[in-house]
Amino acid sequence: MGMMVSAEVNLAATETAANAISDRFSSVGISASAQAHAAGHKRSYVAIECPPAHWLALAKWLRFDNGVNHCSMITGVHHPDGGDDKGWEVIVHLMRMPVSDQKPGKALVHVANKLSGDDVPLEYQVIITLPQTDAPVVPSVQSLWVGADWNEKETWDLVGINFEGHELMMRVLNPHDSPVGFHPLQKQHHLRYHNHNEMYDDAQGFMRLPVDSDRVK
């Protein structure tokens, strides 16, 4: 019927990639395995856990030796209650796409069921766990994937994780004059009306006044 990469090919390629990472890096504490999504076609992805000190080396190896050419997302999570070892997490999603430059007038038409070897698309999820700290730092992969650039800026802007070696770090979503150190996705910042349990206290909405109710316009 319609084309798709078959489950067996996907699993085999994922396991090959995960084993390659484990063989090379397991001595420094990087663990890689092929895990399956929980729903849908239940495809596999390479799940890697990496300490922050070795992230750059792993990233370089993935980029140049494994053909991981697409950085999908870099995001951060704040765990104030995660214990001493888990204070922050940086989660990187990468993909290996079988893409190469084409000559004018030529197109690379993959037939999905016939892909094999290094052409099989892969998903990677790298979890970098940082200890409890007020200044989380992770090496930047800006020089490896251009797509990581604005992802890292956004992660710093919203979550507050610093990326060492990142040039021109700036606020991309929050206004430029946001207070220094204001990273809204940290758990100590609450939403407006956080404690206002409207359904029980104010069912008809009389008490929720807009912030400018006393302003003269």
Binding site: P175, P184, P210, V211, D212, R215, K217
Partner: protein, 198 residues
Amino acid sequence: MGEAGKNYAVFNSRSLVEMVGDVTDEALKATRLKDFIGVLGGRFFNWAQRKSLFPLHLGIKCCAIEMGQTGGPRYDTERFGNGVFRSSPRQCDVLLVNGPISKKFADPLVRLWEQMPEPKWCIAMGECSISGGPYFQSYNILEGVDTLVPVDVYIPGCPPRPEALIDGFGKLREKIIRIGAEPSSERETDAPIIVGDD
């Protein structure tokens, strides 16, 4: 008893124009024609202003797509007179706010409002510009555009249907009949018109 520097002995074109203007003014006042022309002109200008509203070409979020669809062939809003969107605020008289106002956009929005010449009106379209909408809890969204500019008509909906937008413009026209070209800073904003209230 003349003003310092003014030479009444000279009869040039400027003093001729002034004299003719003064004489005509007094004549019109005497025959009550001035009031007559004033009322007629005022009514005429009011009719012209409300039948040809020039909204600003501002598209913030989803309601802007509905604004676009309203200008499309099915709900053609141009036939009612509110379809000519101008990109420059200097040429507009309606600020149609169609999305949430973030802290970053508050200053540009006020600047756009101030660049629009009088008479001008503001329509808050959609929940986000009325009260913050689904993002009322957000750290970055203001609770309604009426924290920044005085709003004349509120159009609820998320997004409002094109018919609601056309009705909103209709309500604005009724309001223009009522208030004329009153400057926006002196309008009472505690009795706004809300589409769907009747």
